[in-house]
């Protein structure tokens, strides 16, 4: 006998739980990869190439790598959530959605606050001016 809950009882809850797993996984990765030294894909705009490093030399942007990593881990979290809850009842899915919602919004607020704290106190390091540069 199957233990799977009737489809009608579950409605769109499995989809909502999967989306919450994705969001929580993405935000947790964004937070952890900022708080801890994490190897990422960096883009070097002057050299027009990517480099995989914790912090490469010269002018480089970690934004692409961090978003890609967060999307990948978020996708993995959604897949794991699907496996964990594929036979869950409607009541269990509702509980899971409540818990995941709290985690998602807590991670959002905490990570945003961390970025504001880190960036508001940052010392800017301008790149050397090319010859003939006129600021405007």
């Amino acid at each position: 006998m199957s233990v799977e809950a009737p489809i009608a009882e579950r409605g769109k809850l499995p989809l909502a739980v999967g989306s919450a797993c994705f969001a929580a996984g993405y935000l947790a990765t964004f937070f952890v990869s900022t708080a801890l030294p994490t190897p990422l894909l960096w883009y070097l705009p002057l050299e027009r190439r990517f480099a995989f490093a914790v912090r490469p030399m010269g002018l480089a942007a970690d934004f692409y790598g961090r978003v890609l990593l967060s999307l990948a881990v978020g996708g993995l979290a959604a897949f794991i959530g699907h496996l964990l809850f594929r036979r869950a009842t409607g009541a269990r899915l509702e509980r899971a959605l409540r818990v995941l919602s709290v985690w998602t919004f807590a991670l959002l607020v905490f990570t945003a606050a961390m970025y504001i704290y880190l960036l508001a106190g940052r010392t800017a390091l301008p790149v050397p001016l090319p010859s003939g540069y006129v600021p405007r």
Binding site: K12, S19, Y26, F30, P45, L59, V67, L119, V127, P130
Partner: protein
């Protein structure tokens, strides 16, 4: 010219980015109101919620993708050469905006995936999740739009 990716396209990309972000701001404002009313029992707003969820998913992703395309030019020409040297507060504000937009991306995608199939009569818990996502994405979009306007006022391209 410094050979930066899409450097000659920076201005049209910025205008397009601003237009799409404006559409996202409008749609998220509507959905934040509609979503909260729907969660409070006004089931006749379900169809409108499904439409706005799709519009937000598309406009948020498009605005984000356009921002990614412009980023190499911004990082060197706007921030590296100018903002970091003459207006460091704007440089910090842009990075806060950029990371806030990245933090809102999974919420906008979740809103798109769940909101477009919402059936509030059957799924009150899912409706509350969609309403919470709608308010969070609205906060992110409005904050990033205002920050973007302030930075562009200092130096856009």
């Amino acid at each position: 010219m410094s050979g930066i990716f899409l450097e000659s396209w920076a201005r049209p990309l910025l205008v397009l980015h601003a237009c799409v972000a404006l559409a996202a701001a409008g749609a998220t404002t509507h959905l934040a109101i509609v979503g909260v009313r729907l969660a409070r029992g006004e089931a006749h707003l379900a169809r409108l919620t499904r439409i706005y969820a799709q519009v937000i998913g598309a406009t948020y992703a498009a605005a984000f993708a356009l921002g990614l395309l412009m980023y190499p030019h911004y990082r060197y020409v706007v921030r590296g050469l100018y903002l970091d040297r003459y207006e460091p507060w704007a440089s910090s504000l842009f990075d806060i905006k950029e990371n806030l937009a990245a933090l809102g991306l999974p919420l906008a995608l979740a809103l798109f995936v769940v909101g477009r199939r919402l059936e509030p009569e059957r799924d009150p818990a899912v409706t509350r999740w969609v309403a919470a996502l709608a308010v969070a994405v609205w906060l992110v979009v409005v904050t990033t739009a205002v920050a973007g306007l302030l930075v562009t006022d200092v130096k856009g391209v």
